[in-house]
Amino acid sequence: MSKRILTTPIKDADLESLHIGDIIYLNGYLITGRDDVHQRLIKQNKELPVDLAGLAVFHAGPIMQKIEGTEDKYRVISIGPTTSMRMEKYEKDFIPRTGVKIIVGKGGMGADTAQACKEHKAIHTVFPGGCAVLAAKCVEEVERVEWLDLGMPEAMWVMRVKEFGPLIVSIDTLGNNLFENNKKQFNLRKDLMVEDICQYVDYLG
């Protein structure tokens, strides 16, 4: 099966045929933005220094290393995804405010993000958690960094990537939510398991 590669700028039509569980790869611009970036834009109402319209945002806090002999050029050492659920509080507002089309992170996001993805034709995808060197290998260049005053993990790193993936679609443009579906299964099984184990834990003589 050939790789399904999306290239920024992303159009709605590129995303509409994707469903949860599909695997895609990304070419083009991927910009990190996590807790503090969301807070600055949505809560503090500060203007983002990077236009994310049609691009992809990466919930990630990388290890970057300054390239010796340069003023402000960096190379990426390790850059895996961070827990997307932390951004749930603001993502529903972040998506329309920025026009971002692809969110890359780890683990699921909630109902508000799914609703925003549906309304504004965006998707949430997961890169395999912890696989930070694998992700770094897909980065062609770190073009620049903004808001470095937030520190290395929270700054906005603007990167050009090639075949960045695998990205597993976890929320599609219909608002389907892979992790929420999985959770329902886990919870059904959980009740049975807890009940079963509890038969054996009355240790009081």
């Binding site: 050492i77 827990t83 683990g107 699921g108 060197v133 299964q185 886990f186 807890v194 509890c198 834990v201």
Partner: protein, 307 residues
Amino acid sequence: MKSIGEGLMNRAEQREKFIDIMARFTVYTGKYLPDDVHAKLKELREKEDSALATIVYDAMFEDLKLANELDRPLCQDTGVIQYFVQVGTRFPLINQIEDCLIEAVKKATCLGPLRHNAVEVFDEKNTGNNVGKRIPWIDWEIVPDNDEATIYVYMAGGGCSLPGIAKVLMPLEGYEGVVKMVFDQITSYGINACPPLLVGIGIAGSVEVASKLSKKALLRPIGSKNSNPRGAELEARIEAGLNALKIGPGGLTGENSVMGVHIEEAARHPATIAVGLSTGCWAHRRAVIKINAAMEYETISHKGAKI
């Protein structure tokens, strides 16, 4: 009486050597998984055949290979550095360990490189060198009549620290309450914390003891058992129960959910059952080194490691 090795080195040289070993070992911890974790992941990978689980395990093992080849931290989140120190009362540098470990972290941050992960509370500033108030975190155990130091390095990543929880149950909630809390937390927060997880549970009389024991449970080698037969049985039941949820690698469903379940306990108050939960992600960066009075070391968690 001084050992031969100690006699050959003065205190300043010992100190320099100790800092160097701990800096390099801390960096190493971020690049290579311990032997037991690596073996367990291999075992769990072989049981998977679904498309998504296969893709995730392939990515994990490719990442481990690349980290090795490119000599880089295998996960970008090299965590807040925690040291669990078991130090003999006659270890020559006993008075300087804290100071040396702070120096080691600064050095490791440059050498690694490690991500900057110490944010001062209230000031909300990242210190940029992984050293901050009470960080690196150091936990002490003093070993009488001994001249060695055994030091656990743990990289407390954000993702795997997020499911952490502790509370004090009323005794009539019983061990049932412990089981329920663990399952509730793993099916909500745990699925996002890079499973397969290592689950650490502490049971005690108050919340700080339970919490600390839950983290110490994560330091035990995978496959080890609680010293009480009932504790060991409960570990096995919770492990089997969590695996039956079929959370899979990355929470994307699969045949298993966890690498293991470890429980550590302290005698409780008659009126309380405190329970703490800590989780380790698949990239469980926990390493153990033993350093003797001559500053010779043995890497216990990573046999034959060249640091």
